[in-house]
Symmetry: C2
Subunit: 277 residues, 2 copies
């Protein structure tokens, strides 16, 4: 999906919500456990209940890998039903030396090779340029690079300043800006890092930011918008647990929809305030 | 596998060789392509030809994921035939927020959950302590943290110095030392970084180092030993392409054995010189 198509979807749906599909088989409601593939059935109902309220879906690959071959099968089937008008993110946090990163890029982008054709993959930048470039070599696909993450460990190294006072996450953004552009690169910035958005926008005014941490992790949507929104929105805000686990009962999909709707309505206000729609 | 058991294996086999199983289906010799699962058959013959010469095997997960479900099946079958006296490393370079890293740990350590029960997983440290700790929570398993990698991009961020002149890879080692110990943590240091081993040994005198980059990537085994070996060896030196792709013909396994044997013989000399055997 191109940048302009993504912006068009945001304006049409009046939403910049990304729904995380971090489906833990131990949290799937009991009434689904009789299905052949309860994780897929759970995802199917969540997708159906929220697809008109969000512009992106983001399965976190760990939750599928943890179940080995059975999990990979759930992922494959889930990918196949993700609506094509939604931006499809493989939250995989991959990265390796060049020839190996090319294999990871094939895993998530090259449908003929792997069966999966996501629009974007999240990438850990520790190994530098040749770990990222193979993802950028895929026309029309995106690399989403970890910059400042939402977890407590995000402060262990990402905010350490170099001799010039530049924190690591800013070094990452500055360097990565030279590897790609606002049409094939995004950055992950945790919603819990409200105060850092201004600094990040200085270095990446046009890039989309993928923002996890709203909801269960405690980040504030209005802070994220105040400091992070640009003239074309420039934000994909992810919520996972607050949506997909809103209820553990037979009403899980309906409750997921209510949670997604509440976020979409907040987002619509932000888009209106900013004059984007 | 415990640290003392690993050391015993090194002394018994007079080797600290790790054979990388980065099996690219496009490089599998033509005569194997008629097999049900050519990647597994290739691995089976490589393992059989080299198991007495090495102490560890290290499939790089990217090469399996790139083939989707079929690749995951090859990985599963390969894991099942890895000799139990060998240290089995999933080279996956994973890492995510705490609850998600726990899923990755299950993917590679928890045989009941995923079908796989590796001894160790490689981890990218960008996301800090809570991305690593779930791996250390598994008794008898190891986290192998990227410190200074062998690729050119390894110099983009890993050697950037903080205000005190400490490069990032040393910050990683110092901090990670507080999360685990020499019995459950190793560090990845590229063989191409000969000069850095002395600095690393200052901070991690007892830890094992996993050293890729000998062979195709141009690192020198004797330099690695000169600066990196400790009194109990403390090294697992990986070679992949120089061994598994030594020949593209029907003699590929025999040639792989010759290459592994040459490295084992060099390693035996180093172990003798150091008085370890």
């Amino acid at each position: 999906m191109t940048r302009s198509e993504l912006i068009r979807q945001i304006k049409t749906k009046r939403s910049f919500l990304c729904v995380g599909l971090d489906t833990d088989i131990n949290k799937v409601p009991a009434h689904l456990l009789g299905h052949d593939d309860p994780v897929f059935e759970f995802n199917r109902q969540i997708i159906e209940a929220t697809a008109d309220l969000c512009v992106a879906f983001k399965p976190n690959i760990a939750f599928y890998e943890s179940r080995g071959m059975a999990g990979w099968k759930s992922l494959q089937k889930t990918w196949e039903i993700l609506p094509r008008e939604c931006f499809r993110i493989a939250d995989a946090k991959r990265g390796d030396i060049g020839n190996t990163s090319a294999m990871y890029a094939a895993a998530f982008f090259d449908q003929q090779a792997s069966g999966l054709g996501f629009d974007a993959v999240t990438i850990a930048p520790y190994m530098g340029h040749d770990s990222v470039q193979p993802f950028l070599a895929f026309e029309g696909k995106w690399a989403i690079i970890l910059a400042l993450t939402s977890n407590t460990g995000g402060l262990d190294f990402q905010t350490v300043e170099d001799r010039n006072g530049t924190p690591l996450f800013e070094q990452v953004i500055r360097k990565a800006n030279t590897w790609g552009n606002a049409g094939n690169l995004m950055y992950v910035v945790g919603a819990t890092r409200g105060e850092a958005f201004a600094a990040i926008r200085k270095h990446a005014p046009d890039h989309f930011l993928l923002v996890p941490g709203v909801g269960a992790q405690g980040g504030s949507l209005s802070d994220v918008c105040r400091y992070g929104m640009n003239a074309e929105c420039g934000l994909l805000v992810n919520a996972t647990r607050s949506i997909i686990y809103a209820s553990a009962g037979t009403d899980f999909a309906e409750r997921a929809r209510q949670e997604a709707l509440a976020l979409q309505q907040e987002m619509e206000k932000e888009l209106l305030n900013k004059g984007i729609i």
